[in-house]
């Protein structure tokens, strides 16, 4: 929730400082709207008027993400609790509720779409890039475990039959999991072929190593 307060002071600056003190925020974390600039009046007595400002906490990436997602879930008639943690330019979002399968979709397709759209909304018109990660029911973690197991199993098969294996099309995130799982396996090598969205990982026997041996 964005905090907001209206304050008065002898000068605009005094009023702003009073507001910052009450909100517990720094100057760069707020937007200031001057309602009345005030007037010191003659000799500070006749016709003097206090300055009045409205100081509002700036909209954060978290606010933007939360607003965007809750609007979407409302229109989808889904009751979803959105938990957001922000750390080192990463918005870590976890969704809780029933029917989360709808938000995951086939192979996480819908979750990926939501994550991508949220990152566009959060970063629109901003200089600093904030990464967005969305998960529900531990889907991404479980999927990662599945992919690591798959990579290791297929690498064994590649070595056993001495033949390359081409995997199903995957998104960049999933391909990276396959590559990094087998990165330290000196017996095989991995690379990607094809164009998005049909780009696939190939696991092959590391022929360079064979020559060296």
């Amino acid at each position: 929730m964005r905090k907001s307060v209206e304050k008065t002071g002898k000068t605009v600056n005094d009023a702003i400082n009073a507001a910052l003190l009450e909100l517990g925020l720094k100057r760069e974390q707020v937007d200031v709207y001057v309602i009345d600039e005030g007037n010191r009046g003659l000799f500070g007595i006749i016709g003097s008027k206090v300055a009045r400002v409205r100081v509002t906490q700036k909209e954060t990436s978290e606010d933007r993400a939360r607003e965007f997602l809750s609007n979407i879930f409302e229109k989808m008639n889904l009751d979803v609790t959105i938990k957001i943690e922000e750390k080192d330019n990463l918005l870590h979002i976890v969704l809780f509720g029933e029917n989360m399968g709808i938000l995951i979709g086939r192979r996480g397709e819908t979750l990926d779409a939501l994550q991508y759209l949220t990152s566009l909304v959060v970063n629109r018109g901003e200089n600093e890039y904030v990464r967005v990660y969305i998960d529900t029911e531990n889907y991404r973690m479980k999927r990662e475990e599945t992919l690591v197991k798959l990579a290791n199993r297929l690498a064994d098969r590649v070595l056993k039959y001495r033949r390359s294996i081409t995997l199903e099309p995957m998104n960049p995130y999933e391909r990276r999991i396959i590559h990094s799982t087998l990165q330290n396996n000196k017996m095989v090598t991995t690379y990607s072929i094809g164009e998005e969205p049909n780009r696939k990982v190939v696991i092959a026997v590391n022929s360079r190593r064979r020559v060296e041996m």
Partner: protein, 77 residues
């Protein structure tokens, strides 16, 4: 509901939310949603190689599955 969902998504992505409009053509089992945005916002709803358009369609389709409907999202010039 699908119409409003598409509107919400499109309005959050573009620079001119006032120029976003969605026309809904309702069939028996399917819905066609025609999305119009300001000319300079076309890129904001289509993206490189249609990546944004694809993500929008994926989310709208997920919502439609809940209502047992087939949905087609058309982005009009």
């Amino acid at each position: 509901m699908l119409k409003e969902l598409l509107e919400v998504i499109a309005k959050s992505l573009v620079d001119h939310p006032m120029d976003v409009s969605v026309n809904e053509i309702e069939g028996e089992q399917s819905v066609i949603l025609e999305l119009r945005v300001a000319q300079e916002d076309m890129g904001k709803v289509i993206g490189k190689q249609g990546r944004i358009a694809k993500a929008i369609r994926t989310v709208v389709k997920a919502a439609a599955t809940r209502e047992n409907k087939r949905v087609i999202v058309e982005i009009l010039q």
